[in-house]
Symmetry: C2
Subunit: 370 residues, 2 copies
C-alpha cells in the first residue's frame, strides 16, 4: 500500500545513516505525519511501550531493530553481547500480549548466538531486514488467500459492494506493509472489486478511526467510521458481509487474542450468520497454549488512555479529559475470542478452520513439535 | 438520589417565576453544572433534539413542560390551542426512538382537549407536574423490585460485592429522579449492600462516563468507567454479576431498543450466563408492535457526535476532532436487543419475562387493549 503518495514501510533505516532506525509516530496520526529517529535500543523499547508503534508484527520488527541498535551501542562500548542480553530482557517486557515480540527477540538472539562478536552488528542488521522483508511477504500471502473470500462474496452479490467490518488497526501500520486484515481488502480494491469497510473507532486508543481510516483513505478504499457499539446493529440489518480482524496471539486451538471488543463483534457475527475471519501471520500462533481465555496474559494499560482523548483543536492537536478527575477507570487492552466463534483463520499459508485440527493441517511441522 | 449535596430533580419550574422551566444542561456534565431556562416550547424542543436533556422518561417530561409553555405563549397571543397543536407536532419529531415522547404529548393533548381555554394553562402546568411526580414513583417502584435481584446476588455471594454492568445513562438524569436501571442500585447502596458498577463509556456521546459516573459519584456509589469494548472480557472472567440496562422503547414481545451497543452486551451476557435485565417504566412499552428489529425506528444522528469529543482542556472545556476531516462517519443512536437475550424486565409493577406472555401477565389490561 501507499502513504503520502509513495510506497512505504512502517520502519526503516535512515537513508544516509544506517545507525538510525526510523518510524512513523502513530500516536500523531491522522492529524500529523511525524517521523521519529530510534538511535538507541531504549528508544525502541519506548516506541513499543508508549505505542509510537503498535500491531503485533511491527512490534516484533521494532524489537529486532532495537536489538541491532543495542549490539551497535555495545560494540562501541566493548560489551556488545552484554548490551544485547540486557536489551532483550527489557524489550521482552514492553508489551505482554503480542507473541511476535518474544518470537522476534528469540529469533535474533538465536542468530546472535551463532555468530562471532565482529560480525554481530552486521548480522543483526541483516536479520532485522530479513524479518521485515519476510513480514511483507507474509502480508501478501494473507492478502492472496483472503482475497478469495472477498471475490466469492462479490460474485454472490453480482458485483455489488462487499461490506467488510474491521476492528482496531490490523493494517499496514500494524505490519511492515499491506497489513494482515487489510491485505485482502487492498488486494480486492486493486483488482477492482467494489469494497467498503466499516471501521470500528476502537476505543480507547482509536486505532480504527485514527489509523485504519487514515491508511484506507491514503489508498482510496471507501470506508465509514463507526463507534465500537454499532457493529451489532449493522449486522442485524445485513449491512456487513464479512468481518476480518487481526490478532496479537492465537492459541494452537484457534482462540484469538485481539484488541478489546473483538469478542463482542464475534458474538454479533455468530448471532447474525456473518462470517468472522481472523487474519494472521503464522508467527502469531502460540503453539504452547490451548485455552486462550485462561492462558493469554491480557495487558492492562494506563487509565489515562480511557480518560483522555487526542484530537485536533483550533490550530493544533491536544488531549481533552472526558471523565471527571478522580474517577476510577479500568483499561484492559485485549480480549480473547473463543475459536468456536471464528469462521476461519487466514494465514500466509492458506485459510483453515480455527481449531487444533485445522491449524495442524496447515502447519503440520509446527503443530507436531509441541 | 442527590446531586451537589441536595435532593434534586432534572426538570422543574423556576422558583419565583413559574413561567420558566429549568433543566440541567447535560451536555456540560461532568465538567460544568449549568442550569438552563426554557422560556418557550421551542427552547424545550431544542433541549430535546440537541440533547441538553435525554433519556426516555425525561424527554417525555420535557415535552409535557414544553406544551405548558406553548399554551402559555398561545394564551398571551390569543391562540392557545393553535400554538399547542403546532408545538405538539414539532415536539413529536425531535427524537424518533423514545416512545415516551409521543406518550407524554398524547397524554397532555388528551387533557387539553377536555378543558376550556381559560383553564388550559393551569391544567397543563398541573399535568406536567403530575407526569413528573408519577415518574418518580415509577422509578421508585423499579428500584424496589430490582433491589430484590441485587439482594439475592449479595446473599449468594455471602455479602461480597455485587458487580453490576450498565450502559449509557438510565439514571436519575434520564428520568426525574432515581433513574430506571440505577434505581435498584441506589436502593441497594442505601440499604448497605456492597455494590460496584461497571460504567460503559457509551460512545459516541459518553453518557456513561460523563453522566452515569457523575451521578454515581454524587451519591457515593463505587464505580469504574470502562470502554464499551470491555464488557465481554469482564463477563468472561466472572467480573460481572448482573447487567441492568434502560430502554427507550420495548415491544409487547419484549424486544428492547436502547443505546447503541446494548445488544452486544446482551450477547456477551448470554454467552457467559450473566443475567441481563432491562429496567423500564411501563410507559416505555409499545403495545402496538412486536418485532423490534423490524419496527422500531432507529435514529441516525449528526456524524459530529462521533468525530468530535468533548472534555476538559487547560482551564476550560472544549471539543477535539478525533478523526481526519472529510472522513465518512455513520451514527446510529440505538440498537434493538431481541427478547430472547433478555433475562427479565424490571418494571414499576414487578419483574416479568421478556415475552408477550410475561408482559401480558404483568399488564393484563394494556396487553388486551391491542
Amino acid at each position: 500500500m501507499r502513504a503520502k503518495g509513495e510506497a512505504f514501510r512502517t520502519i526503516w533505516q535512515k537513508p544516509g545513516d544506517s545507525s538510525i532506525v526510523q518510524i512513523i509516530d502513530q500516536r500523531m496520526l491522522p492529524h500529523e505525519y511525524v517521523i521519529r529517529d530510534l538511535k538507541t535500543w531504549q528508544d525502541g523499547a519506548h516506541a513499543i511501550s508508549a505505542m509510537l508503534v503498535r500491531g503485533a508484527p511491527l512490534i516484533g520488527a521494532t524489537a529486532a531493530w532495537s536489538l541491532y541498535l543495542a549490539a551497535a551501542a555495545g560494540r562501541d562500548a566493548g560489551n556488545a553481547n552484554r548490551e544485547l542480553q540486557l536489551a532483550a530482557e527489557k524489550l521482552r517486557n514492553t508489551r505482554p500480549t503480542a507473541i511476535n515480540l518474544g518470537w522476534a527477540i528469540d529469533r535474533v538472539l538465536a542468530v546472535a548466538a551463532k555468530c562471532n562478536e565482529q560480525q554481530l552488528v552486521t548480522t543483526l542488521e541483516n536479520e532485522a531486514r530479513v524479518i521485515c522483508d519476510e513480514d511483507i511477504e507474509i502480508s501478501k500471502g494473507i492478502g492472496r488467500h483472503g482475497l478469495t473470500l472477498l471475490e466469492e462474496i462479490s460474485r454472490r452479490k453480482a458485483g455489488g459492494t462487499v461490506n467488510v467490518l474491521t476492528h482496531c488497526n490490523a493494517g499496514s501500520l500494524a505490519t511492515i506493509n499491506w497489513g494482515t486484515a487489510t491485505a485482502p481488502i487492498y488486494f480486492a480494491h486493486q483488482r477492482g472489486i467494489s469494497i467498503h469497510v466499516w471501521v470500528d473507532e476502537t476505543r480507547p486508543r482509536n486505532q480504527g478511526s485514527q489509523l485504519t481510516a487514515w491508511e484506507l483513505a491514503e489508498n482510496g478504499v471507501p470506508h465509514t467510521v463507526i463507534v465500537d457499539n454499532a457493529g451489532g446493529h449493522l449486522m442485524q440489518h445485513a449491512m456487513v458481509d464479512i468481518c476480518i480482524m487481526g490478532t496479537d496471539r492465537t492459541t494452537r486451538s484457534g482462540d484469538v487474542a485481539n484488541k478489546i471488543g473483538t469478542y463482542l463483534k464475534a458474538l454479533a457475527a455468530r448471532d447474525n450468520n456473518v462470517p468472522f475471519y481472523v487474519a494472521l501471520p503464522s508467527t502469531t500462533i502460540d503453539w504452547t497454549i490451548s485455552n486462550g481465555i485462561r492462558d493469554i496474559p491480557i495487558e492492562e494499560r494506563d487509565p489515562q488512555e480511557v480518560s483522555h482523548v487526542y484530537g485536533l483543536a483550533g490550530s493544533g492537536t491536544e488531549s481533552v479529559q472526558t471523565i471527571a478527575s478522580g474517577t476510577s477507570v479500568s483499561n484492559y487492552a485485549f480480549d480473547v475470542t473463543p475459536a468456536r466463534l471464528v469462521t476461519g483463520l487466514i494465514t500466509e499459508c492458506g485459510i483453515c478452520e480455527a481449531s487444533e485440527a485445522g491449524l495442524a493441517r496447515l502447519f503440520p511441522e509446527r503443530a507436531v513439535r509441541k
